[in-house]
């Protein structure tokens, strides 16, 4: 098994582009807002007309990564790039829209195709973003968690190994570990590890599960590029949060699967040398990944 290293990290959050936009104290900066929404990225192209906001955020995160690394799209295209995608909640908005549209079809609420979204829909759910209600037929494939990485794979021509994990920060630790294995076994020459989290469409639903999701919920998309390198990654359970996990919590808020990637971006921004210790917790399980030079 060969070692790995993190070559670049791209971050987009409800606070803005890159970790430079993160406040020093997310809770204070939220000012009582439960969700800090990320704007729908304005990506050009007919293909994006039907794509959901979470798909566009995924594409935007990869573009941010390419900018940071000064890489062209052609440098990640093809079967030598693995894509590992992790999310806890990003499929929620597409599911919500599909369920609402179905309820509308059944006459439960008045939501017409092509009309502006209602302010209140079934279950008292508030719509955060105006826009057309997707028709059932075209919208259904976007309810699958695999829709976001699919759009990213199509956009950037990624045809390598493919893993999708569901869960919060610990699942992202699992995802990073999977990427190191794919690289270590020589199944790819580089790995994009991507996370997207959106909350706005299902804000009242997430508010009910507040022991799982502690506000402010900050919509985020982040992507790390892993390549072969000198560091050995060790994957193991962790009993306590690493300083980076705690820092991300304070500065970014609740970003679920994006948190370990934001931690990587913060670590790179600080220029810290030495072992890199990442941890992430979800549903009572804390996983850890330590990168160190043997």
């Amino acid at each position: 098994m060969t070692g790995t290293e993190v070559a670049a990290v791209g971050v987009v959050t409800g606070w803005g582009q890159s970790v430079v936009a993160l406040p020093s104290d997310a809770a204070r900066a939220a000012g009582g807002r439960r969700v800090i929404a990320a704007l729908r990225p304005s990506l050009v192209g007919e293909r994006f007309r039907r794509a959901t906001r979470e798909c566009l955020l995924g594409v935007a995160a990869v573009e941010a990564l390419l900018r940071e690394a000064s890489l062209g799209r052609e440098e990640i295209r093809g079967g030598e790039t693995a894509l590992v995608y992790v999310t806890a909640a990003a499929y929620g908005s597409a599911n919500h829209d599909f369920i609402v549209a179905g309820a509308a079809d059944a006459g439960a609420v008045s939501v017409g195709a092509g009309a502006a979204r209602t302010e209140h829909s079934v279950g008292g759910l508030r719509k955060a973003h105006a826009g057309p209600v997707a028709s059932n037929t075209l919208h259904f494939p976007y309810t699958a968690p695999s829709a976001v990485p699919a759009e990213v794979a199509i956009e950037f021509g990624l045809t390598g190994p493919y893993v999708i994990l569901l869960g919060g920060a610990s699942a992202m630790i699992d995802g990073l570990w999977q990427a190191t294995l794919l690289l270590g076994r020589g199944q790819c020459r580089r790995a994009l590890v991507l996370a997207v989290e959106t909350f706005a469409e299902c804000e009242p639903l997430w508010a009910r599960g507040r022991w799982l999701l502690r506000p402010p919920l900050v919509e985020s998309a982040a992507c790390a590029l892993l390549v072969p390198g000198p560091r050995r990654a060790t994957y193991a359970p962790a009993s306590t949060p690493s300083p980076l996990e705690a820092l991300v919590r304070v500065r970014a808020g609740e970003t679920l699967a994006c948190a370990p990637l934001i931690a990587l971006a913060l670590a790179r921004a600080s220029g810290g040398a030495g072992p890199l210790r990442l941890t992430g917790e979800w549903r009572g399980r804390r996983a850890g990944l330590v990168w160190e030079t043997p």
Binding site: A88, N95, Y162, I164, G209
Partner: protein, 387 residues
């Protein structure tokens, strides 16, 4: 071998054709049709009202979502065949699903404001519920590569064992039939009003089903004499072509198969049997048959191929695990189950298809293929323990 083989110690299942592994297997061999009119939720407004619905579970517990109930039923079956004899922190759970707890999401959005329902709406909820029930305190993961999830999960589980992150892994896949998914596939016109006919000239679409399949995996050197078979290789690849349809050239599937064979250090000449994804949609079966002919090359005419979705419906996250288990049971029992629904072979899908009757062969090495929404492709190479 590029990757160390991993033992599949035992399996458990709950399916539309049988409430446990033995009933599933005998149902497959005799060609039981598990498709019926859906009764658990309203379907009168849908074009297609049929599916592989499990009518009754052995033990239904109030308060558990249906996905968890299917998993618990499969886990009870598994534990009747093998014990989890490892410290709890060394037992992991890795599950594949396309839909997770989406039915709980429907209820939460529609009428049930409880916090419990909201948390269960997240797709990784059932895996956590199963881990709690099993007392497993190692890594708990949910894989969601759409309808390839049940294959990817086995690959991730094998990685946990090879990395020494666990000593035992309970892994597999599940999904339920619910109104959400029926409405979606119905709107896409992917469902047939006929029956699902994999690789048949008249095939006109798939039918959905539900089920759960779990296997207990251990490092091969730790498995001792207890073994249903081994996972020799696994691989995945993205199409990067379309959100909902397979790449018409099947390039992602081909890459996944070739990589899985390379990992297993298995040549095409070594393959004894192929369990195809075989959804019975016109495009999937044509693409898959073409890929298999390319990969199997001169051996394509002599390697038996079947698809079991005609009997069960497409059980989504459970499908690939059920098919992997079927490969191992075929090796143990010396018979390959038929492809229910296949009556008139499609010349465009020319393969050695096991059609209307089971075939007496004892495959040692099997290849199992899976495709899913989002261009997810996966392949498993399995070795049965049949003598």
């Amino acid at each position: 071998m590029i990757t160390e083989p991993v033992a599949i110690v035992a399996a458990g299942a709950v399916t539309p054709i049988g409430a446990d592994l033995d009933a599933f297997w005998s149902g497959l061999v005799i060609g039981t049709d598990g498709i019926s009119r859906i009764e658990r939720f309203p379907v009168d407004d849908l074009r297609v009202r049929l599916g592989g619905e499990i009518k009754k579970l052995k033990r239904e517990r109030q308060g558990d979502c249906r996905a968890s109930q299917l998993l618990f039923a499969a886990a009870d079956d598994l534990r009747a065949r093998a014990s989890l004899d490892a410290p709890p922190a060394r037992v992991a759970v890795v599950l594949g699903t396309a839909l997770g707890g989406v039915e709980e999401g429907e209820k939460a959005l529609a009428h049930d404001p409880s916090a419990r329902r909201a948390a269960a709406a997240l797709y990784d909820g059932p895996a956590s519920a199963l881990a709690r029930r099993l007392g497993a305190r190692g890594p708990v993961m949910t894989v969601s590569t759409a309808c390839a999830s049940g294959a990817t999960a086995l690959g991730v589980a094998a990685d946990l064992l090879r990395s020494d992150a666990a000593d035992l892994v309970v892994t597999g896949g599940y999904d339920i039939l619910c109104r959400f998914v029926m409405r979606g596939f119905d709107a896409l016109r992917s469902l047939t009003r006929d029956r699902a006919r994999p690789f048949d000239r008249r095939r006109s679409g798939l039918l959905l089903g539900e089920g759960a399949a779990l296997v207990l995996m251990a490092r091969d050197r730790d498995a001792g004499g207890r073994r249903l078979g081994r996972l020799l290789g696994h691989a995945s690849a993205s199409d990067g072509a379309h959100v909902a349809a397979p790449d018409p050239d099947g390039r992602g599937l081909e890459r996944a198969i070739r990589e899985a064979l390379a990992q297993a250090e298995v040549g095409v000449a070594d393959i004894d049997f192929v369990s195809a994804h075989g959804t019975a949609t016109p495009l999937n079966d044509r693409v898959e048959a073409a890929v298999l002919r390319r990969v199997l090359d001169a051996h394509a005419g002599r390697i038996p191929v079947n698809a079991i979705k005609g009997a069960l419906g497409h059980t989504m996250g459970a499908a690939a695990t059920l098919e992997a288990v079927m490969c191992l049971l075929a090796s143990r029992e010396g018979v390959v189950p038929p492809t229910v629904g296949l009556e008139e072979r499609d010349p465009e899908c020319e393969l050695d298809l096991v059609a209307t009757a089971p075939r007496a062969v004892r495959p040692r090495v099997s290849l199992s293929t899976s495709l899913g929404f989002g261009g997810c492709n996966a392949a498993l190479v399995l070795e049965g323990d049949g003598r």
